[in-house]
Symmetry: C2
Subunit: 110 residues, 2 copies
């Protein structure tokens, strides 16, 4: 199932909107880890972490592969590129005094 661009951004930003999930991403950025290893530092049940991982996986922010009886989770950073590209549009609005310019123009706008 190919997601529309909007739906992809929905799932990516939604995945990033939870602090546990951001922490899991950070954890996994240090190297691929099993679900149990990922869960240990978080005060949550394995089932809860498993659900969070499913959300991250739906957003294609992580991928899994089985290794023996373990599920190995690894970062799939390219999905974040979509978020980055979305943000890029707004960069001119916060960097440089274009911001001041924009506000000025808005003032005249009505």
């Amino acid at each position: 199932m190919v997601k529309s661009n909007a739906a992809r951004l929905d799932s990516i930003f939604h995945a990033l909107a939870d602090p546990t999930r951001r922490a899991l991403l950070r954890d996994v950025s240090a190297g691929a880890k099993s679900v149990g290893d990922l869960a240990r530092p978080h005060a949550l049940t394995l089932a809860a972490v498993s659900k969070h991982l499913k959300v991250l996986e739906a957003a294609e922010l992580v991928a899994r592969q089985r290794r023996g009886s373990f599920q190995i989770v690894r970062l799939n950073a390219p999905a974040l590129l979509d978020a980055d590209e979305w943000l890029a549009y707004y960069r001119p609005f916060w960097s440089s005094r274009l911001d001041a310019l924009a506000q000025h123009l808005e003032g005249e706008n009505q």
Copy 2:
């Protein structure tokens, strides 16, 4: 009420996870607009748009000011900088072949 950094990112990413809200941000990036003007192109009631704007405002992505009987909504791009900084950490993982390197290291990690 000062939000912790995590709570700010929660509210920012949550605000961005909805396509209507992203569209509203895009609309308002072209210049400050009244709530009615913002609502018009979206097939939603004013009440719904008002709620979306409240979410964007809670994330400090927009600000309002009253002008007569209108509420003028303007972009507050600097909040997006927080999201950008969070993303920046991951840039090395998708740009360049550092990605391949990371996966290689992950392979050895266990």
